[in-house]
Amino acid sequence: MQVVRLRVNGDERACGVPAHYTLLETLRYGLGLTGSKQGCDKGDCGACTVILDGRAVLSCLTLAREAEGRELRTVEGLAIGTEPHPVQDQFDLAGAAQCGFCTPGILCSSVALLERNPSPSREEVRAALAGNLCRCTGYEKIYDAVEAAARKMGQ
């Protein structure tokens, strides 16, 4: 057991986990941040996607110790104060979440996209979300929501 120090959603957090714990296991079981989901746990589904140094990565295939000293954001940290992030707001308005299991990962991939590319084309949205599976298959409304959020953020 070793102490892992993570900078999560702007907070310095520390917890004791074994060296072989993944970032996802550490977030969920060590820090109680259960927003990031454990789906396939093998890098296929994207439900565990978090934003590390501004890039969407898979927390199930990252060791917690690899994230030390880096800027980490999870779905819990996307809201701005008490206001939902524009992407979260548009997911709500567009009905882009069905069962909701894939939603935290898709929100993280979407936010990482919009921070680099504030007005993506439909094709760029689809490409950015290629690594996030929605088994309810509600992709069109998800793309609509990301596009609507881009328009809102550009206003």
């Binding site: 074994p18 060296a19 093998k42 994207g46 990565v57 690899e66 690594g131």
Partner: protein, 333 residues
């Protein structure tokens, strides 16, 4: 056989911050050690508990392996830990080696490219699903191939280069690097040595348990690309079951030097058809001295598959390879 569990068994984790330390650790731990780069191939093996290393050496903190820099001769040197996104988006790579940028950009998903590395993509293990499921095949040190029998499910397996094992190399960037005549630098306790990309990948007739020249104690540190020749044409195409993302069924990478309307030199490399990226000397010989048109492409494609032999479920790969080679000659730009 494989039982997927949700946690990785414990290991000792080492996180060196310099190349020297990394090489020393990799040497000390030998075949009990495991090199961790982006983690995509690694954690698949470790979570299935099929590979159980005692020590994991994480290269994530070795900053000097992550760079992309110009070389004295006008080429580029890319560290083994350069992320695939960085390779695909690098201005230097895009302007001088668009073939590699294209190949790196077609690997898997955005998340996987953000964490996956060029070195990891090159040295990743085969996807043969019998082997990955933990069956005790030749490649796993056993004495049988489960994929090559008349009753095997072998749609993804090889049509060339079989030698007891019929697995294929799954990398998208490997054929691009062979076509670009790249050079790999390998370090170990006794120093550094370099390999032409073509020789870096090995078949089962050389060692059935490895996909590359790397042995326990070795570390791939850098990839060097020689200066591009002005006017060279290139082509890359990856065929996969799903357009959104997948491993390739087959891919082709070619570099053509065309003078007037005649191919002076060509490097044509196909992956996903053999245990290593196949540079087709036969197709290149056909293309040389002829116009890079449909007819030459057709002839080159036929030449490329002359020795191909299908397994029960993969004869489509012969037609696929023939057509990929044809297009790589005809449509290189």
């Amino acid at each position: 056989m494989a039982v997927i569990r949700d946690m990785i068994p414990p290991f000792e984790l080492y996180q060196p911050s310099g190349v020297e330390d990394a090489v020393r650790l990799v040497g000390e731990h030998g075949d009990q050690g495991w090199v961790l780069a982006g983690g995509l191939d690694t954690f698949d093996w470790l979570k299935d508990r099929i590979k159980r290393p005692a020590a994991v050496i994480d290269l994530g903190g070795v900053a000097e392996l992550g760079g992309i820099s110009e070389t004295d001769d006008g080429g580029l040197e890319i560290g083994a830990m350069a992320r695939l996104t960085a390779v695909a988006e690098s201005g230097d790579v895009r302007s001088r080696f668009p073939l590699l940028a294209e190949a790196a950009g077609l690997v898997a998903t955005p998340q996987i490219r953000n964490q996956g590395t060029l070195g990891g993509n090159i040295v990743q293990d085969t996807r043969c699903w019998y082997y990955r499921s933990g069956w005790p095949c030749y490649r796993a040190g056993g004495n049988v191939c489960y994929a090559g029998t008349s009753r095997s499910m072998n749609r993804e397996h090889c049509i060339l280069g079989a030698s007891r094992c019929v697995a294929v190399n799954p990398s998208d960037t490997a054929p691009a690097l062979v076509a670009l005549d790249a050079e790999m630098t390998v370090a170990n306790a006794s120093g550094e040595r370099t390999y032409a990309a073509r020789d870096f990948f090995i078949g089962p007739e050389i060692d059935i348990t490895r996909m590359t020249v790397l042995e326990p104690g070795d570390l791939l540190t850098r990839v060097r690309l020689p200066a591009p020749q002005p006017g060279a044409r290139w082509y890359f195409e990856k065929i996969r079951d799903r357009k959104s993302w997948d491993f390739s069924l087959a891919s082709v990478a070619s570099v053509l030097h065309v003078d007037g309307d005649v191919v002076r030199d060509a490097r044509i490399v196909v992956n996903g058809v053999a245990p290593y990226p196949v540079r087709s000397d036969a197709a290149e010989a056909v293309a040389r001295g002829r116009a890079p048109d449909d007819e030459t492409g057709q002839m080159a494609g036929e030449a490329a598959v002359q020795d191909a032999r299908a397994l029960r479920h993969n004869d489509y790969k012969i037609a696929l390879m023939r057509n990929l080679v044809k297009r790589s000659v005809r449509d290189a730009a």
